[in-house]
Symmetry: C2
């Protein structure tokens, strides 16, 4: 009973060991493609009975007018803001949005993708789980000619457009700010460095410390955690117990920064006088507690908007995805009482 | 090309001017149904060519193993916790979950429902938008024999099972606590009282004030808002400008309570000495600011769990929905520094 799947540009790409985007360009007579490649692609397309855009065009005709979104956690300020940007843009263009939450769990993310494909969404925007180590489920989206976009986080091994923030650059600025305020020994609480966002931030911090002549052995403490609230307290208590010194805590989420601040205050350590505290992502609570916490404001709403705009542009164009497009949006350093020592 | 829709118990109910649940019971030989009704229902079922559970059974055979959830806002602590309860229970039973956000907007809620029906979800759990004044989209779910459950909020005009919290009772406890701590004039910031949850809470507060001999004209201030952060500041500034007195602020969301607290402190009014402040829903920030705010902890996770359990029980039973089942879960009064005057 199974019908033969129509040939896609990915089948042609595979047969010729080319990029899908090269095949797409060749079929569309793109000027950057050589005559030789163009003829070779057209010949293979004919051999494989490729119908230009047939499947994609069909999909679009039977469009569900729905965008599927997969995020790690809806409860994080960054993601709820990104969803707002996605929804405002989508609804204005007549599209609905369904959201799935992976809870940073690869198995659940695979289920999410299956569910969205079965729901016949027109496209998928994903910020992959930290725990995701395989890519089959993501490549499966592309094989079905459903457009896929990464936002905020991405997986290098999967070809797809990405809408990201400038994690590397803003982490440099934040580290430099702490050094300018007198930091001589920095304690960093990070998430899993296999994830693109934490790797980029840590690289930014490393580079800045090195530029400022820090000894990476003796002037940097680093602890890898899940970045949930309790991890801030755990990290600080462990360092205090070990008797190691530090004069600034940089948490790569506001949740761990807030938790760290609370423990420092409980232990009679003054913030920012004895130890400065900075976070990441501008959770509402970071502005409400005392002292208010220095953090990074990310363009979450704008990332969501841009992801939908790019997806809708692609759906209207009726051209196969041109992979490797990367948009990087600017974050903002928000300096508050928790790191202001000099006036 | 349109096929005739199979007869449902709702068609029989309509033809006989009976409740669907009565028809369901009659068809299942329920002891509470009279012999006369049972025979009448069976006769009409035969006349309308009713196939017992045919459509529902078919739907279940082609089950998508997906539960659709519609909530007002994913960014609210209560709803993100409820979603956690929904997802943990659903995934453990092999079901996926897709989430739609109405943003308290009726039009968007109608779109959400359309999207979930098109995605062939096995059931829908909804906490309706405050702005929802029509019920056609909700009745449409039931007409398609897709099970529908309300959680936290409900619409009286739509027959469906409900999983709720004890808003009336816990609001009484909270009001009584403020009176016990010396409140003589209470300023309440509420949401739209057409919504079940705010109506129930306000009724609880009214009853408690009356029991305690409060003069409702002179000892109660009330302001209806959208319950977003800014509304707390706006309400307090307005009351201060009008020169009216109050010694306790009760916000029906933590966001307005936190915003009110901040303005009071800015104006040099001491909390809790001059004015006590209490909120609702136990947002994480309410415990982090100083003074920590007294609030109501709602069984959000448990509500989500129970909603899925009831839905899955219904799907397994293969019995038409027995309407009017109501489960009420217990909230918890969380007393913190912002309302403790007596030791």
């Amino acid at each position: 009973m199974e019908r033969k799947k129509p040939t896609t540009i990915h089948d042609i790409a595979k047969a010729l060991n080319l990029n899908s985007s090269t095949v797409s360009r060749a079929l569309n007579n793109h000027p950057r493609i050589s005559e030789k490649t163009r003829l070779m692609v057209q010949k293979t397309a004919k051999k494989l009975a490729y119908q230009p855009n047939s499947m994609a065009a069909n999909l679009r005709k039977s469009s569900s007018k729905t965008i599927g979104v997969v995020i790690p956690r809806i409860s994080r300020h960054f993601f709820s803001q990104a969803i707002s940007g996605i929804e405002e843009t989508a609804y204005a263009e007549g599209y609905s949005v369904v959201i799935c939450q992976s809870m940073e769990n690869e198995k659940r993310e695979i289920r999410n993708i299956d569910t969205l494909i079965s729901s016949r969404v027109d496209g998928i925007l994903i910020s992959p789980a930290i725990g995701t180590k395989s890519y089959k489920h993501l490549n499966q989206i592309k094989e079905r000619d459903i457009p896929l976009f990464f936002f905020d986080r991405y997986i290098e091994e999967v070809d797809a457009s990405k809408i990201l923030t400038d994690d590397f650059k803003i982490a440099r600025q934040l580290a430099q700010h702490l050094i300018d305020q007198g930091c001589k020994k920095m304690a960093v609480i990070t998430g899993d460095r296999q994830a693109s966002i934490y790797r980029d931030r840590i690289n930014g911090i490393y580079e800045t410390l090195k530029e400022n002549g820090f000894n990476m052995e003796s002037q940097l403490l680093i602890k890898e955690t899940e970045l949930i609230y309790e991890n801030g307290e755990q990290a600080i208590r462990e360092w205090l117990k070990q008797g190691v010194e530090f004069d600034a805590v940089l948490g790569l989420s506001d949740m761990v920064a807030i938790s760290a601040l609370k423990v420092l205050q409980e232990e009679g350590i003054k913030v920012p006088e004895d130890v400065m505290v900075a976070g990441f992502s501008n959770e509402p609570a970071s502005a409400l507690i005392s002292p208010a916490i220095t953090t990074v404001g990310q363009p979450a709403y704008e990332i969501g908007q841009l992801a939908v705009k790019k997806l809708l542009h692609f759906l209207k164009e009726e051209n196969p995805m041109d992979a490797h497009e990367i948009a990087i949006l600017k974050s903002e350093l928000i300096i508050r009482e928790s790191t202001i020592r000099t006036k």
